[in-house]
Symmetry: C2
Subunit: 341 residues, 2 copies
């Protein structure tokens, strides 16, 4: 029997790509999303790309216990993939309570609903931000954890809550997937990242410069101890990331991984801001003007994953390279210059 | 004009004693309590002891945003003293979600309601548990923080949330009062600690042995590196603790303390389990039979406060000694052997 997976935040950037991979792998998908930073159009397109008529969709919030109860009563949910959450670092510094409410309290509400309905499998959208300012790279899963802002702290708190839940009831199967920097888009160019307002992340910003929406890119810091002085990150193609979630569910089904499964999802390869600018220029055949400006508080020089554990436990590794990431982002951005609008 | 203080958990052990001290200091008091571990009788008696007809009381939960809105609309609340929360370490290990929901999500809901109503003064009931397993004693406020169980983690998370809130809006005045081990009762014997079921803490357990409700006390560990091998803690009289809260409010009014005020409330004096047994026997003139049993996981040998900062900033220090603590506990326990029932 095909299993039903509840995908919270399933209309979002990573969520919509994951729905496609879940359907391709033979799972049934139910989406809960409050659309605060996503579009129902992404779900319609994801359904079309996956060759299904539609994806069952509930517009609403993980803080809404009544709605959660309705979903668990209506569908025989086997597992939850939990993407829903606010994700802008700067905004989290300004409005910490919104982050603790939506992310932390929202997750607790979701977990209580799962517990009440006997659903004990969850894959959580964590982040490399939980490593704080790591002392060395590549980053391994047993590195010390810390947070440098409320967004990161909310992710860390959720990891701790899930760890305590596992200790209280080891029947739970809990995946903490620590993402590095998701970029790229579906190769069709039909779905991709559509941030509201000014993008917080590098790749969508570069894409908007290339498409002429912004004049130039501000590069925060040119004097980091990296090969060209700009910050180095581990960029991972969103489709690779989406597949990692499917692999985590499949690993839990096989039962050959720890019930509390903590893995990095990254490529293991670091690229600087200027590497990204060059690669994107080449892919788009456009200039991407940039200016080096002051460092941004809280940024670190270099951050990339050791992806070995994910390969060992999930039989997963990133397959798409920097050219794929830039080409697919450009395809999405140039055919949808205003996103889903 | 007298200021209105909303006391969450105001019918509880520390809350009810604090209501009396607030009223004595000229504040008006409004209580919100869900009575999950407290009795309305405590509030009635607190009102009588304070010489007021009654204390305005809302039965309900800090997770109930609608009720919070009603209270803030109905009363001109100046500050909140926030006691409401679950507090049993063992239960928190079994039911972590209940702790993260009531304590963390509940506090976030309360803070959002305060923000919406422009109330930006809060004194929070934190705990020495946030010091985890301290390397040295006495414990100072700048010691590293950690948690050893979900109860402690919920306190630590709330401290972090409040710290982020202060960074986002420095107009907030936030007191984090880290209690050591509250014991004792009002000297009238009218109100005191009334734990439901088997007490989690030493003093009420000893009291129930003395009153004949239990046969003997189990002492967890007799081989700690302390003067008699049993664990050493910093016991503080609940009336001293209650006065510390009033002093924190008054310090915020004077404005001569940091807006993010973090202080230990303890005596600075450590007593062992056997010290407490002896002192209680003397105060009650009863035998307190005990047996040394195995150490309890997660317990530490010795924990007592450096109370200097509280004295410096709040002009507060504990005034009651071990004899007071035992006498008042015994008075309460012997005249109310079944608590408020």
């Amino acid at each position: 029997m095909t299993k039903h997976i509840l995908v919270t935040g399933g209309a979002g950037y990573i969520g919509s790509h994951t729905c496609i991979e879940l359907l391709a792998a033979g799972f049934q998908v139910v989406v809960l999303d409050n659309l605060c930073n996503s579009s129902p159009e992404a779900l319609r397109r994801a359904a079309a790309l996956a060759g299904v008529e539609s994806i069952p969709f509930f517009e609403g919030d993980i803080l809404d216990a009544t709605l959660l109860g309705r979903i668990f009563n209506e569908y025989p949910i086997d597992s939850v993939i939990h993407f829903a959450g606010l994700k802008a670092v700067g905004e989290s510094v300004e409005k910490p309570l919104a982050y603790y409410d939506n992310n932390v309290a929202g997750t607790v509400t979701l977990l209580q609903a799962m517990q009440q309905h006997g659903v004990k499998n969850i894959v959580f959208s964590s982040s490399a931000t939980v490593y704080g300012d790591p002392h060395t790279t590549p980053i391994q899963e047993d590195f010390p954890l810390s947070a440098t802002n409320p967004y990161g702290r909310s992710k860390l708190m959720i990891e701790e809550i899930l760890g305590d839940l596992y200790k209280a009831d080891p029947e739970w199967k809990i995946g903490l997937l620590r993402y590095f920097n998701p970029v790229g888009a579906h190769r069709s160019g039909q779905i991709g990242e559509d941030p509201q307002g000014v993008p917080n992340n590098l790749m969508p910003y570069i894409a908007r410069v290339a498409v002429g929406q912004y004049e130039h890119l501000s590069v925060f810091g040119g004097d980091y101890p990296t090969h060209d002085g700009t910050g180095v990150r581990d960029y991972i193609h969103v489709v690779d990331l989406a597949k990692g979630h499917v692999k985590a569910l499949e690993a839990f089904q096989r039962g050959d991984v720890p019930n509390l499964l903590i893995v990095n999802l990254g490529t293991g390869q670091g690229y600087s801001v200027l590497d990204m600018v060059k690669a994107f220029s080449a892919a788009s055949e456009r200039e991407v003007p940039y200016r080096i400006v002051a460092r941004r508080a809280g940024d670190i020089a270099s951050c990339y994953a050791d992806p070995a554990l994910a390969e060992q436990l999930l039989h997963w590794k990133a397959e798409k390279n920097l050219v794929d990431m830039c080409r697919d982002t450009w395809h999405w951005q140039s055919t949808n210059p205003r996103g889903y609008h």
